[in-house]
Symmetry: C2
Subunit: 351 residues, 2 copies
C-alpha cells in the first residue's frame, strides 16, 4: 500500500483518543476525522494525532483550546459552528454523526470506538453510512452478542452497497476469538472456549464508557442504566468493591462468532468473564483464552493463548481493530463485500 | 460446502496415514487418492480411510493384503500393475507421482505430507501438477525456509494457471506462525518470536521421515545424509541420547513467513527449536510460541500460545493443514490465485 488509508474514528473517549495515538504511529494509516457527540475535527491532510490523543473531555472544546492561535476563519449557523485552520476543520454541531456521514467521501475506512452504546446504535450508524455512500469500510470493537448479531443480519444491505463491515474486532471478541479459531485446528471436536480477562486501569475516568459497559454486564444492570449513572454514582459503586469488578457469563459475541465458523456447535460452549481493577494499572489476572477439545486420536487437551500482563486493554483492542481494518480494505479490493466477523479472516499487520 | 472436497494425499508414512485417519473424520472432505514412492490407491467414491490409516509399511502392499478378497480385476504392464475392486484402484508403479499428476482431474486439492525431502522436491512436484493441470489447489507442511522460499518464487506460474498453493501450513510453520501474526496485533514493534516445541513419539519407527528430518537439522547433518541413514543407524544414533533430540536455531520457514507479512523486519528475530523424545509419547516440554514486542504506549510484553501437552505432532500439523486446505479452496472460489504463506490467511474450520 503506497498511499495511507484515510481513517475516520467514531468516538473520542479513552479508546478513541488512544486510537488516534496508535494511528499516529502507523505510516500506512492517516487519521482524517474524529468525532464525539458534540462535534468533529477533520483534515484531508491528516490530523495531528498526538494533539488529538493528548486532549481530555469534549473533543471540539479541547482541540479548540489547543488550536486557538491557528484559527483563520469561523462561520456559525443555528446548528453548526465551523472553524478552519491550517490544522484542519473544527465543527461543533448537534448531529456530529450526520456530519461524518456527509464527509464519508473524504475517508476510506471508519473505525468505531464506542464501547457502551445500545445494541441498535452501531447497526443504525452503519445503515446511515451505507445509505449515503457506497463502498464503505467499517470496523467495530463491539462486544455484545445481540449487537453483533444485528450487524451480521445486515450482510445483504452492505454487500449490495459494495461495502465491507468487520465486526467484533477488539480483544474479546477479536484477538482472543481469532486465537480460538487457530487453537481449534488441532481438534476434531471443541468442547469449550473459556475467556478470562484481566484489565487494570489506573484511573477509571480515562475510560468512562468502557467501565460503564462492564458495569452494564453485572446482575441488575443494563446498558441504559449504566449509561445513565453519573460519575459520582460510578465512583460510589466502585468504592463498594475497592474499585474491582468481577464479571461472569458476560454477553460477549465471541459465542456467535465462534458458532458462525463452526468452532463450536452451540453458543453455550463459550464463556467470557474477567476481572477489572479500576484503580491500578496492573492487571489483576492474566488474560487467557483456553480452548479444550478432543483430537482425532481421541485425546482431550487444552490450548491456551495468554496476553502479556504489561499490555493494556487499549493495545489489545485497537491493535487488532486496525489489523482487521487493513484486512477489510483487502477484502474490498478483492471484491468481497458484506458483513463478516473477526473469526473469518486473519488480521494483516499494519506496517 | 455441500459436496465434499476431494483430497489427494502425497505421502503415506506416519503423517500421510494419520492424514487419512483425520480426513475420514471430516464430512467436508473425501480421500480419493494417496500415494507413496511405490504406488498409489485411488477411488472417486472415497477410499476407506480407516483401512488406509491402519496399514504399515508400503502402501500398495499393505492395502493389497487387506483388500485381497475384494479384487475384481488386474492388469500389468512393464511399468505399472493395476488392480480394481469395489474399494478402488490399486496401482503399483515406478513413477507414482506421475500417476497422481495424470489423475489430477479426479481431485480438488492435494495435501503433501512428506516431511523429509530435498528442498527442490516439493516445488518440483507443484510444477509438475501446474504444468499438467490448471486450477490446482495444493497445501504443504514444509518446514525449511529454503524450500518455502523456492515455492513462494513460483507465485506467477501458479497464479497464471489459476491455482492456489498455501505453504508452511503444519504446526511450525503453520499453527504457531499464524498465532504469532495474531499476537503481533497488540504491538507496534515486534522484537522477537521464539518457538520452542516438544514432541513425544512412543515409537519412532511410526514417523521415520519426521525423525530423519529432525536429525537433518543437527550440526553436521543434512537432509540427504539423514535420508540415507538406515533404520539401524538411526537407532544407534538415538541410543546415544536415550532417544532424545534437542534442536536449536533450526532452519524453519516461520522466519520468512513472518517477515513476508511484516511481523518482523528481519528473519534473525525468529528462532525455532525444541525437544523430541522418540521413546515416550509424553511431550518433554510444552510447545510454546512467545512473541515479545513494544506496545504503542512503549510497554514491553510477551504474548504466549501454548499447545496442550496431550495433543500430538500429527494433530497439530494435520489439523491446521486441512484448515488451510479449506481456505485455499475459498481463495480459488474467489479468484485469488498464487502461492501464499500460512501467515496470510486465517485457517477455516473443517466441519
Amino acid at each position: 500500500m503506497d498511499t495511507p488509508i484515510r481513517v475516520a474514528v467514531l468516538g473520542a473517549g479513552g479508546l478513541g483518543r488512544a486510537a488516534a495515538r496508535l494511528i499516529g504511529q502507523k505510516r500506512e494509516l492517516r487519521l482524517v476525522a474524529i468525532c464525539d457527540s458534540k462535534g468533529l475535527i477533520a483534515s484531508p491532510d491528516g490530523l495531528d494525532c498526538a494533539r488529538v490523543a493528548s486532549g481530555t473531555g469534549e473533543l471540539v472544546a479541547s482541540y479548540r483550546t489547543a488550536n486557538a492561535q491557528a484559527l483563520v476563519g469561523a462561520t456559525s449557523s443555528s446548528r453548526e459552528h465551523h472553524e478552519s485552520s491550517d490544522r484542519g476543520e473544527v465543527v461543533a454541531c448537534e448531529d456530529s454523526l450526520g456530519a461524518m456521514v456527509e464527509r464519508a467521501g473524504e475517508f476510506d475506512a471508519v473505525l468505531v470506538t464506542l464501547p457502551n452504546m445500545p445494541n441498535a446504535f452501531i447497526p443504525g450508524t452503519v445503515e446511515r453510512f451505507v445509505r449515503a455512500n457506497s463502498g464503505l469500510v467499517f470496523v467495530d470493537v463491539l462486544k455484545r452478542t445481540s449487537a453483533v448479531e444485528r450487524l451480521l443480519g445486515m450482510h445483504e444491505l452492505v454487500r449490495e452497497s459494495e461495502g465491507v463491515v468487520l465486526t467484533g474486532c477488539g480483544a474479546t471478541p477479536g484477538l482472543l476469538t481469532a486465537a480460538a479459531v487457530l487453537a481449534a485446528q488441532s481438534f476434531v471436536e471443541v468442547e469449550r472456549v473459556d475467556i478470562w480477562w484481566g484489565v487494570g486501569i489506573a484511573n477509571w475516568e480515562a475510560y468512562k464508557a468502557t467501565i460503564r459497559e462492564d458495569i452494564a454486564h453485572l446482575p441488575g444492570f443494563s446498558v441504559e442504566r449504566a449509561k445513565a449513572m453519573s460519575d459520582a454514582e460510578v465512583n460510589a459503586f466502585l468504592d463498594k468493591t475497592h474499585g474491582v469488578l468481577e464479571l461472569h457469563e458476560m454477553e460477549h459475541a465471541d459465542d456467535i462468532l465462534l458458532e458462525r465458523v463452526g468452532v463450536v456447535q452451540s453458543r453455550e460452549q463459550v464463556t467470557v468473564g474477567g476481572v477489572m481493577d479500576t484503580r491500578h494499572a496492573r492487571k489483576p489476572v492474566s488474560t487467557t483464552m483456553t480452548l479444550t477439545g478432543i483430537t482425532f486420536e481421541g485425546k482431550r487437551a487444552s490450548h491456551r493463548f495468554i496476553l502479556g500482563d504489561e499490555t493494556t486493554m487499549a493495545a489489545n483492542v485497537l491493535g487488532p481493530a486496525l489489523g482487521y481494518l487493513k484486512r477489510a480494505m483487502w477484502l474490498k479490493a478483492h471484491g468481497i463485500f458484506g458483513v463478516f466477523g473477526s473469526t473469518e479472516f486473519m488480521p494483516m499487520v499494519v506496517r
